[in-house]
């Protein structure tokens, strides 16, 4: 059965600002976590690709197969640290087209989060 493509608009909240390189490293981390949780069988359904980033808002678009959406979401939620700092990654929206994902990325205005509690 042919798998369909999905686009995940995700956001990463962290104490420091992430740049484009950080998002590439984060994608690698997601892959490692998927391998740990679901093994080679899980990865064989397809690996996510980083399509677009919006570092100012800590947002990015990942493209993946519809079969791996749940795996990526679980792997993403289980990411605890990135370069020694705690992070909070989460999926904002899943779309069927890149165009729609890009619209979400562009129009999304996250709540003003002041992570100054610690």
């Amino acid at each position: 059965m042919r798998s369909r493509r999905r686009y995940l608009v995700l956001r990463v909240i962290s104490r420091g600002r992430l740049n484009e390189e950080d998002f590439k490293a984060l994608r690698r981390l997601i892959l490692e976590r998927m391998l740990l949780l679901y093994g080679l069988r899980g990865l064989s359904y397809g690996v996510p690709r980083l399509l677009d980033t919006y570092p100012e808002r800590g947002m990015a678009i990942l493209a993946c197969s519809n079969r791996t959406v749940s795996m990526i979401r679980a792997a993403l939620a289980s990411l605890e640290e990135f370069r020694g700092e705690k992070i909070l990654p989460y999926v904002i929206k899943i779309t069927g087209t890149y165009r729609r994902a890009f619209e979400v990325l562009r129009s999304y205005t996250p709540e003003d989060l002041r992570m100054s509690t610690q």
Binding site: R73, Y90, D112, T117
Partner: protein, 248 residues
């Protein structure tokens, strides 16, 4: 689950924004004693319009007497959770109708089997709490087997599973939908996984709010009005010939 000591006045606003951002509709603030319950209730009342905030009492003890003493605070909180540190505590808590959640620290070698659940047809009055970070940060692989067995037993006996974040920091919070997918690793189907983050916790809170409202009499019986006459719209078979039992 957020411990109260992290909730400074300045942090509350960003905390509420973050909850909205992550689409978290219900948050339980954890108290460990009566003083904390009072403080958190004040806080919950102030911010209840934005997000549904409930106060939960976490009882973590190895002594039966202190468990029963803390359970007296039942009417002050929406959720009571007992950490099953010993088999006897697990057994007592499972039989007590005041308990809403049982949490098994899997390192303690106490499992759901210790509660001797034999529900199947009957509905459980409590649920099993699974903390997301316990599942992810599993230090020993042998613990994974215990978690899997506990989940399988709970599902086979009709005990509701409640998946919580177990967060101790803002950045440990996770989107509920993202968290639910981790249960697929333990062979929980999507429907049960969604129930564990949505229906089951809401049902516990709804049931307890009803009890706390004062209209609750017994399970299945509640006061719907006072000092007014009521028309019986549906005929109950055998109600006319009903004779109350004579008490000797």
């Amino acid at each position: 689950m957020i411990p109260p000591d992290m909730l400074s006045r300045e942090g509350i606003d960003s905390f509420i924004s973050l909850l909205k951002e992550l689409d978290i509709k219900l948050v339980a603030l954890t108290a460990r004693n009566r003083e904390e319950i009072r403080q958190l209730r004040d806080l919950a009342r102030r911010y209840d319009e934005d997000v549904d905030i409930v106060v939960r009492l976490n009882i973590s003890t190895k002594e039966r007497s202190s468990l029963l003493k803390l359970l007296k605070a039942r009417r002050e909180v929406e959720v009571v959770a007992v950490e099953c540190l010993t088999q006897s505590i697990a057994r007592i808590a499972a039989k007590d109708s005041r308990v809403d959640l049982l949490y098994f620290p899997f390192k303690q070698r106490v499992s759901l089997g210790a509660t001797e659940v034999r529900l199947r047809d009957d509905r459980a009055t409590w649920g099993v709490e699974l903390r997301f970070w316990d599942l992810v940060r599993c230090e020993k692989w042998i613990l994974l087997q215990r978690i899997r067995e506990a989940i399988a037993l709970a599902l086979s006996q009709g005990v509701p599973i409640v998946l919580t974040s177990g967060a101790r920091d803002f950045l440990e919070l996770r989107s509920p939908r993202d968290m639910a997918f981790i249960l697929s690793l333990f062979d929980v189907n999507e429907e049960d996984a969604i129930k564990s983050i949505a229906d089951n916790p809401f049902e516990i809170v709804k049931r307890n709010r009803e009890k706390l409202s004062g209209s609750h009499v017994l399970p299945g019986v509640k006061v719907v009005g006072r000092d007014e006459g009521y028309e019986i719209s549906t005929k109950v078979p055998g109600i006319e010939s009903y004779q109350p039992r004579k008490i000797k």
